[in-house]
Every structure is written in structure tokens, then in C-alpha cells.
């Protein structure tokens, strides 16, 4: 049996780890995530010294560099509040790989403790906040791309769609081969650009074929990749981080 994850009750406060891609390219998505949490009565703590989870170095094999970067994040969350991350990829890194990265080191205990408090944003909204949404937007079709890390590493194929399903005027359509990777994979897109391009081409085609003019995702890597492909092809399909989409339609 797959172990059942037990979720804590809604906390008074929560930490927010914005991630480097949000910081640089999609800061509004981060702020919208914070607003969604605050609307649920949670005080959001944003440690100003946060940088990056270390994943790019980790998946490139640069283990020592990744560990140093990760170690710099561990001290940012001293209180026992949950740590919410608007990305399945960075969330997966912190929850799954921090324990591996620090196994056998002095920081092992702290890393395990931090990892145990990490939640992906949609996961936290659904399972901890039990979020209820009221749609103020106009009617439209939307496709969702759940990142591979959210889907497989964190086991969160359902949380994004569950939130979208609450939006009364939104028709959630599923693209063909929805579970297949969009081809981002961090440095994979740069190391194997042609294979990555073939993957994102198939993904954009599948989304386009649903007839949706908008797609949402909970990971900025996928958003950059799929959205960038649509934009380069001058297609009339735009992407948005799910936090921004939810905030925009319900505020």
C-alpha cells in the first residue's frame, strides 16, 4: 500500500520559499501564492535570505555545490511552521533529496526536519487549507500541465486539477498524454536541446488540440518551456502559474 500522508491542521503561520525561477522570471506568481495563503488567515513568513534550493547543481552531478547551497537554506526556517513552495520540482528537491543530500553529515537531522515540513503550494491549499474558491471570472477552457516532479516525485497529480475544478466558469480539458514530460528537465533542455525541443513540440501540440487558449502549471520550469514554445511559434495560447490564475479569478 502507498503510505497515506497525514496533513497537519491549518497553521497560524507558514514559511514561503519562492524558488529562484519565480524570483527572477515570475515574481507575481510568488506574490499571488502568498496572497492565497494570507486570504486563508495564514501569516506568511518570507525569509529574505532565501536563494535557490540547489537543484540545478544537484541534477547536474555537482553534489558538493548543491549541498552548500541547500545548507544555506536550512537555517531560514527556525520555527516549526510548514514551508510552502510554489513548485513541485523545488518542493520535491527539498522534501525528497535534502535527506539524501545530507545523509551521514552533521546537518542530517536538520535536513530531515526541514524536509518533513515542505509542501507544494497546491498540495498545501487542498490538504491543509481545505481551500474553497469562488470563481469571479468569465467562462473559459483551461488545460493543466502537472509537472513530473509534482506528479511523480511528490505524488500530486490531483491537487492542481482539484483546485481548478472549484472554478465554476472554468472547463478543465485534458490534453493527450497529459502525464508525459514537457521536455524541460532543468539542464536537460540545454544539454539535449533537440530531444527537449521534440518533447515540448509534442506537448504544445497536445495542448493546442484541446482548444484551450490557456494552460496553467504549478512549475515555472514547465511554464517557461511550454509558454516559450507557444510564444516562439506565435500561437494564441498563453500560460500562467496556477497561483496567479487562482488568485486572478477569485479576487
Amino acid at each position: 500500500m502507498t503510505p497515506v500522508k497525514l496533513y497537519p491542521p491549518k497553521p497560524e503561520k507558514a514559511y514561503f520559499f519562492g524558488t529562484c525561477l519565480v524570483d527572477l522570471f515570475y515574481p507575481e506568481a510568488g506574490l499571488d501564492g502568498i496572497r492565497l495563503l494570507e486570504r486563508e488567515g495564514i501569516e506568511v513568513l518570507f525569509p529574505q535570505d532565501q536563494t535557490c534550493c540547489g537543484q540545478p547543481a544537484y541534477t547536474s552531478g555537482y553534489q558538493n555545490e548543491a549541498r552548500a547551497v541547500a545548507a544555506a537554506q536550512l537555517d531560514l526556517f527556525p520555527e516549526p511552521w510548514p514551508i510552502v513552495v510554489p513548485s513541485g520540482s523545488c518542493g520535491g528537491m527539498m522534501r525528497t533529496h535534502y535527506p539524501q543530500l545530507f545523509a551521514g553529515t552533521d546537518l542530517e537531522k536538520q535536513a530531515n526536519e526541514v524536509a518533513g515540513r515542505v509542501y507544494e503550494l497546491t498540495e498545501f491549499l487542498v490538504h491543509v487549507c481545505h481551500l474553497r474558491l469562488e470563481d469571479c471570472g468569465t467562462s473559459e477552457k483551461v488545460a493543466m500541465h502537472t509537472s513530473c516532479s509534482a506528479r511523480r516525485e511528490m505524488g500530486l497529480a490531483e491537487t492542481g486539477p482539484a483546485l481548478l475544478a472549484q472554478l465554476g466558469e472554468v472547463e478543465l480539458v485534458e490534453q493527450a498524454r497529459a502525464a508525459e514530460c514537457c521536455g524541460f528537465g532543468g539542464t536537460f533542455a540545454v544539454r539535449h536541446p533537440e530531444v527537449s525541443a521534440a518533447m515540448v513540440e509534442d506537448k504544445t501540440q497536445a495542448i493546442e488540440e484541446t482548444g484551450a487558449k490557456r494552460f496553467v502549471t504549478s512549475d515555472c520550469g514547465c511554464l517557461m518551456n511550454i509558454g516559450g514554445r507557444f510564444e516562439q511559434q506565435k500561437k494564441a495560447v498563453t500560460g500562467e502559474h496556477i497561483a496567479s490564475y487562482l488568485w486572478r479569478r477569485t479576487s
Binding site: D23, L24, F25, G30, F184, A198, E201
Partner: protein
């Protein structure tokens, strides 16, 4: 069709060629879609997680006792009248098989499907010694006729479509050009039938070697495995040392996982259990049975507690069927005996990282392989481990460790580390990137060949949050 030599060193060029070949793209996409659907349907509402857990534990238990089980297997086989040989590498295994053939004055060998024999290039070795080796698995037969290597470990000719197969059979064996699959299968069958009757030696692989009973299990669909192991007077089974399982009762769960994961079948048409040569009073079966146990780098994998998991593999091919990279570039692109995700974690040990350094990175780490692996090999983690080895930040025990480390890339990651551990510099840097976005190049290497460049937002989340908190504080004051 010309003979093309593939090598893992040329992964990028081969991927480029495959991606530009509509035939390859279509053949693999269609085949992999079909296999994924069949697997999903055949497991249906099974408690797959429990079964995978069981499969993983059986394999882990066997591996944890590997040296003892191999000795037990040797003793049980010998007690059954099966002769057991040990080969440290592929070359030695080839020599052992050739010598057995020569001791029987064998001029022709018929082969059942065996990936280990591909790994050690047995056919070429036998041909050099003047012994003809003919593949009898239909896919292997076609690939051999076409002077190629398998592009998939279960379906060797999956890269070929009906028209291509028709052409190969027409050119090489003189059959009519046709799209009639039954005609082609029947033609190949009758061609092979004669060869079975005349072969001096049969060579097969092994799916599970049972230590307790000395039983060699062989899973197949075409009956060619049964013919190979029962018609010629001598049968030689060849397998990697990791294929041993402890008990006969370990086989059914692994078999259930194997057939369903591989081809979406509840059972295969044939399941052979070979436990001895022909006994007195029996009317058929080989007079001699040999088992060749091949190490070829496996015991060095075995000595690493992480990489060891690679040896759990039962060769179902589900990881390649579900891999978005394999699906697009096909099996030959990898240039290795074992393509796809399992190949990318196994080949570096067999061939060294100098030759295979582009394979561990040929994955988006999407996790589909690990998700479907019937024995729960943590393939994505092992890919990352091998990336670490190739840039010299692992344990250094994989041949060619450190080969991918360049001063430039190492310096770039050190730079990243410095920036990401100096928050003040980080905030300034990110903020600067936003302010200078007009200066950002519109071309960013390979990224912008296919996508528009991401644009820094102009303000950072750090700054937005500060502003947001200040305005909230201001509101509260009022």
C-alpha cells in the same frame, strides 16, 4: 538499407538523425503508446504497489545472498546434470561457448533471444570461428537479416514497420513483397523450422535461474525458445550472474510482473523450465545442457550499495516503453546493447563513462521509468548518481569517473554556489538582471532555437514581498 554503426559516443548526432526521421518517430511513438496502454490495462485494478514491493524484495533478497546463491545454483545444476561454466567477461564467455561448439564439431548454432549474448557479441565471435549463428526469435531474425542490432530489449525489431519488414524478407529470403503479416510470419517460420532441425547447438538466455532447484526459466512467446532448448543435441544457456533467484516460489511473482510490464500479457505463450538434459528413457531433449554464468562488470556494480540496485532488473523494458526520450530517439540512438533508462544506468559500467558520458544526462528526470519499474529500481536517482560520477563528484568507482568534468563548467557551478550562499549578492544580482532586461540577448544558445527567451520580470519576489508587507503594515496602522 545500408548498415549503420551506432555508438554511444555519437548520441547527439544519432539523436539528431532519429528525430529527423519521420519513420522512426512514427514507429516508436505508435509502438510505445500501444505498450503503455496494454500494460496499464492488464494491471487494471491490481494492487500494483504491493506486487512491485514484493518483486523488489525478492530481487533484493537474492542480491543480498548473491555469492552464496550462485554456488548453490552451480551445485543444484550439477546435481541435475547441467554443466556450469563461469566467465569473468564477455570474451571468456564467448570462448567457453565456442569451445563447447568445437568439441561437438558444430557448424551451426540456433539462438533463442539473449541480450547477454548481444552484450558479448557472441554471433560475431562464432562467425569468426566459422560457426554460423542464426537468431530464431522473429524480431532478432529480422534484425540479423538486416545486419542491425536490436533497438529494444524485448522487441528487437520495433523500429521496423510492416513495409520495411516485407522488404527485408523479400531481399534477403526471396519472399513476395506484401503487407500480409500472416504470410510473412509463416514464411519466416518455415525458413527457421529447417534450421532448428539441422542446428548442432542451441543457445538461449535465461530469465530466472533458481538456486534451490537448479531450474533455468525461459519466458517467450514464439516457441523458438522451446525449439532452441529441446531440438539440437546440445543446449547452452547463457546469463548474467544477477539472474539468480533463491526459491522456485520466487518465480511466479516475478513472472507476473515481467509479462505484464513488458508486453501487457497475463502470461506468455511459452514458459520453459529447464532442469536437466535428456534423461534415460526420454525421447527428446538435448543430450547436454550447459549454463554459462557471465560476470562482465556485474560484480563491480555489486560492490556499491547504491548502484547495486541496477542488478535488480528483470529486463522487461517497461522503462524504455515509458521514456519520453527513448520514444522519440529510438533504441539505436543510444548505441548500446541495452537502450533507454536501464541502459543509461547499466552501460556506463559495461563500457565506461568515456564512451557513455552522454547517456546519464539523456533524461529529463521525469521519473516515468522509476514509476513503472516492476522491481522499483530508483532509476532517476541512479542517473543522478552517474552524473555525479561523470563530473568527478561521486565515489570514483565507475570506469571513466570524472571524464565529463570541465574547468569551465566546474567554475560555473562554483560561481552559482557562491551567489546562492551570499543572499545579499543574490538579491542584488537577480534585481540587476531584471533592471538590465533590455540588454538580455534575444538568443540564448539552444534554448531560443525552439522557444522565446524567458524575460526577467524587472522586479524580484524578494522586492515584491517587501513592498507587499510594507503596504499591509501601513493598512493595519490606519
Amino acid at each position: 538499407m545500408s548498415v549503420q554503426i551506432f555508438t554511444p559516443r555519437e548520441f547527439h548526432r544519432q539523436a539528431h538523425d532519429a528525430l529527423g526521421d519521420p519513420q522512426i518517430r512514427a514507429n516508436f511513438r505508435k509502438a510505445m503508446d500501444g505498450l503503455m496502454t496494454k500494460r496499464r490495462e492488464v494491471f487494471g485494478d491490481w494492487d500494483l504497489e504491493t506486487l512491485r514491493e514484493l518483486g523488489a524484495n525478492i530481487r533484493l533478497r537474492a542480491l543480498s545472498k548473491l555469492p552464496d546463491l550462485l554456488e548453490q545454483l552451480e551445485a543444484s545444476c550439477q546435481a541435475n546434470g547441467i554443466k556450469v561454466h563461469w566467465a569473468e567477461d564477455g570474451e571468456e564467455a564467448c570462448r567457453i561457448i565456442r569451445e563447447i561448439c568445437e568439441s561437438h564439431d558444430a557448424g551451426s548454432v540456433i539462438k533463442g533471444k539473449s541480450m547477454v549474448s548481444e552484450e558479448m557479441h557472441l554471433n560475431a565471435h562464432l562467425e569468426e570461428a566459422g560457426i554460423e549463428a542464426l537468431e530464431s526469435d522473429l524480431g532478432e531474425y529480422l534484425v540479423q537479416l538486416n545486419e542491425q542490432t536490436p533497438s529494444h530489449i524485448i522487441m528487437p525489431a520495433i523500429h521496423l514497420n510492416t513495409d520495411e519488414i516485407s522488404e527485408i524478407l523479400h531481399v534477403k529470403t526471396g519472399t513476395e513483397r506484401t503487407r500480409d503479416v500472416d504470410y510473412m510470419t509463416a514464411a519466416a517460420r518455415s525458413q527457421l523450422r529447417q534450421r532448428f532441425m539441422n542446428a548442432d547447438v542451441g543457445v538461449s538466455g535465461v530469465n530466472f535461474a533458481v538456486a534451490e532447484t537448479g531450474t533455468l526459466c525461459l519466458v517467450e512467446n514464439e516457441g523458438n525458445g522451446r525449439m532452441t532448448t529441446s531440438v539440437p543435441p546440445v543446449h547452452i544457456a547463457v546469463t548474467g550472474i544477477e539472474k539468480v533467484v533463491e526459491h522456485l516460489r520466487d518465480v511466479p511473482p516475478l513472472y507476473a510482473l515481467l509479462t505484464r510490464s513488458a508486453t501487457g500479457q497475463h502470461v506468455t505463450t511459452y514458459f520453459n523450465m529447464i532442469s536437466s538434459p535428456r534423461k534415460q528413457g526420454e525421447h527428446d531433449g538435448p543430450r547436454e545442457v550447459h549454463l554459462v554464468l557471465v560476470d562482465n562488470g556485474r560484480s563491480s556494480i555489486y560492490q556499491d550499495d547504491e548502484l547495486l540496485d541496477t542488478l535488480r532488473c528483470i529486463r522487461c523494458g517497461a522503462c524504455m516503453n515509458h521514456c519520453p526520450v527513448y520514444t522519440r530517439v529510438g533504441g539505436h540512438t543510444y548505441g548500446t546493447t541495452y537502450p533507454g533508462p536501464i541502459g543509461s544506468i547499466l552501460s556506463p559500467h559495461l563500457m565506461g563513462l568515456e564512451d557513455t558520458k552522454d547517456l546519464p544526462t539523456a533524461s529529463s528526470l521525469c521519473g516515468a521509468c522509476g514509476e513503472v519499474c516492476p522491481v522499483k529500481i530508483p532509476i532517476p536517482d541512479l542517473l543522478v548518481r552517474l552524473r555525479r560520477e561523470s563530473v568527478g563528484e561521486g565515489r570514483g568507482n565507475v570506469p571513466g569517473a570524472g571524464v565529463k568534468r570541465t574547468r569551465k563548467e566546474a567554475a560555473a557551478w562554483k560561481g552559482f554556489q557562491w551567489l546562492a550562499t551570499h543572499p545579499g549578492a543574490w538579491r542584488a544580482g537577480i534585481s540587476m538582471a531584471g533592471k538590465l532586461k533590455a540588454l538580455m540577448p534575444a538568443k540564448l544558445g539552444p534554448w531560443t532555437d525552439y522557444r522565446s527567451a524567458p524575460k526577467p520580470a524587472g522586479t524580484t519576489l524578494h522586492a515584491l514581498v517587501k513592498r507587499h508587507q510594507a503596504s499591509k503594515a501601513h493598512e493595519e496602522e490606519r
